[in-house]
Amino acid sequence: MKVLVAVKRVIDAYVKVRVKSDGSGVETQNVKMSMNPFCEIAVEEAVRLKEAGVATEIVAVSCGPQQSQETIRTALAMGADRGILVQSDEALEPLAIAKILKAVVDKEQPELVLLGKQAVDNDFGQTGQMLSALLGWSQATYASKIQKADGELTVTREIDGGLETIKVKLPAIVTADLRLNEPRYASLPNIMKAKKKPIDTMSPADLGVDAAPRLSVVKVTEPPARQAGVKVGSVAELVDKLKNEAKVI
């Protein structure tokens, strides 16, 4: 089974993000960038499927600027076999990315596409679903467990208040949730070897995709600062305040 994994380059999850002073977005200059953590989980799952003899080839795809190559290299170091960079210096919206991925899927004909459930930069959580709609493929989102049995996947999904297990026919789209696995560290020798693995570069236009934005960002603001707390003198006072002021109980 050939597996395509989508990987996104985002601001490192441990960086404290700052909003630009003009409110047009967030500072990305001189900020550490990494692979989106949910994409890492997706790559790890693909590598595990390959180690288990289920997947035969793993292709890592990233849509974004030239530097997204580094994100692809990380996937290659973790165990992906080759990479595809669809290069665009424009900000790409979920729909544009889904269209690009569809074009790549048409070319590559994988049986399974793995994505993160969302990217931690914009928290859209839409790309996998849109891709599934564009392809007309089955989808299993928020996966915490994946098993393959002839022609089908059994996927456990994380849903509000519990787990749901579903079966989907292949080819399929699966988006990875936090508990699907714990991604490995790419070993240092594998990082060195990854530079010998091929990465194809193309543009959205090469794939015949119009990636022009449909959304415009009106304003980006910092979350409101936390209000100072109050000290209460007794449990009775606390209960009273929760009931009558905060109205939470």
């Binding site: 990494s34 580094e70 790419a186 070993s187 240092l188 020798p189 594998n190």
Partner: protein, 383 residues
């Protein structure tokens, strides 16, 4: 950014993540138990840390001196005892073979050293000869198709776990100086080799040193590194040249960590109604520490680049070791001061770090020995 740079950044990033997520949370455990846990050692092997400097033909990463220094700085961000686990395989315990070994010797040992299956130690120092290593006494006496080794080696890092030893011994009893010394690569389980008890050290708990005693230990003639007698001291000095850059880089990493911790403490701790970071006397200590650390960093990266470019860097390497190890000593002392009474209490990492860094000024050549090397080279330049 070129692809080489991008790759180095990726290596650094990976090591940084490992240090922050896997090693830092275990520092106190290592201090308390005087042991680096087995699962951490297994993770270090899986990550490839044992093979940083071993050439790719033998399964390592074959990092250049600059790359090694950059990684060494990141490794310095946690307790130096962690680095010590694989430090001898990266440095003194393997470089003798890498630099001067025969092809057979490399084939035999380096792949296992790169994977971490084989741990190497470097046996130069003796009870009677430390700084004056050229007059060491351990004897290698010809016996049939090999040699018999007799003598004691002292303070040998990782000897309690070592599988293979680089041993400097005197093959020419009539030559009392450096030219009478040969370097041997010796299996640690050779009959006639006995280990002393691990020493109780001031700091770097979790890293162990002990005596290695040779009593009529037989080694075959082909155990001489490079196959030629009398080259051992030169081999040892070449190993130490590169090792000095590595140690210096670690000193810089430790200093960076200590400075970051001290800044964090100074911003939180309030006296006289203000964060102590607002007092200029505290700021002066932080400014001096950061400046000296940056100077050491620039010096070390310059020396490393020059070595990679093929320059002879004996003087620069000694300067790096001298300056960086003394620098981190001053930085740690100031950081204790900034912590006030808490700096003297084991709940704060600085109490441990202050003891840990003391070693850097002593081993792989004391500060005084570095000064002698720098002056000797300087005087030669003006001959």
């Amino acid at each position: 950014m070129g692809s080489e740079d991008a790759e180095l950044e990726q290596l650094i990033d990976t090591v940084d993540r490992f240090v922050e997520q896997k090693l830092k949370p275990r520092e106190e455990e290592v201090e308390r138990t005087d042991r680096v846990p087995d699962d951490v050692v297994a993770d270090m092997k899986a990550l490839g840390l044992f093979g940083l400097t071993i050439p790719p033909e033998y399964g390592g990463l074959g990092l250049g001196c600059y790359e090694e220094a950059r990684i060494g700085m990141v490794l310095g961000h946690t307790s130096p005892a962690f680095r010590s686990v694989f430090g001898t395989n990266v440095g003194i315990g393997a470089q003798g073979l890498v630099i001067d070994g025969t092809e057979e010797q490399k084939q035999k040992y380096l792949p296992g050293m790169a994977s971490g299956e084989i741990v190497g130690s470097f046996c130069l120092t003796e009870p009677e000869t430390g700084s004056d290593a050229g007059s060491l006494r351990t004897a290698a006496v010809r016996d049939g198709n090999g040699y018999r080794l007799n003598g004691t080696k002292r303070f040998i890092t990782n000897a309690p776990r070592a599988n293979v030893l680089t041993v400097m011994a005197r093959t020419d009893p009539n030559e009392p100086g450096a030219r009478g010394i040969s370097a041997f690569i010796v299996d640690a389980d050779t009959p006639g080799i006995r280990l002393g008890k691990p020493e109780k050290k001031m700091g770097q708990r979790g890293a162990h040193v002990c005596d290695v005693v040779f009593e009529d230990a037989f080694v075959p003639a082909d155990a001489i590194i490079g196959g030629v007698e009398g080259q051992g001291f030169k081999t040892a000095m070449k190993v130490l040249d590169r090792g000095r850059i590595h140690i210096s880089a670690v000193c810089i990493g430790v200093a960076e960590r200590i400075i970051a911790d001290a800044v964090g403490y100074a911003k939180e701790r309030r006296q006289f109604g203000k964060a102590i970071a607002e007092f200029q006397l505290i700021q002066a200590m932080l400014a001096d520490s950061d400046t000296e650390c940056a100077a050491a960093r620039a010096l070390v990266l310059d020396a490393a680049r020059r070595r990679d470019a093929g320059e002879r860097i004996t003087k620069l390497a000694a300067m790096c070791k001298y300056y960086a190890s003394e620098m981190v000593g001053r930085v740690a002392d100031r950081a204790v001061q900034i912590h006030g009474g808490s700096g003297y209490i084991a709940d704060y990492a600085i109490e441990r770090q202050y003891r840990d860094v003391r070693l850097f000024r002593l081993y792989e050549g004391t500060s005084q020995i570095q000064q002698l090397i720098i002056a000797r080279e300087l005087l030669k330049e003006h001959d």
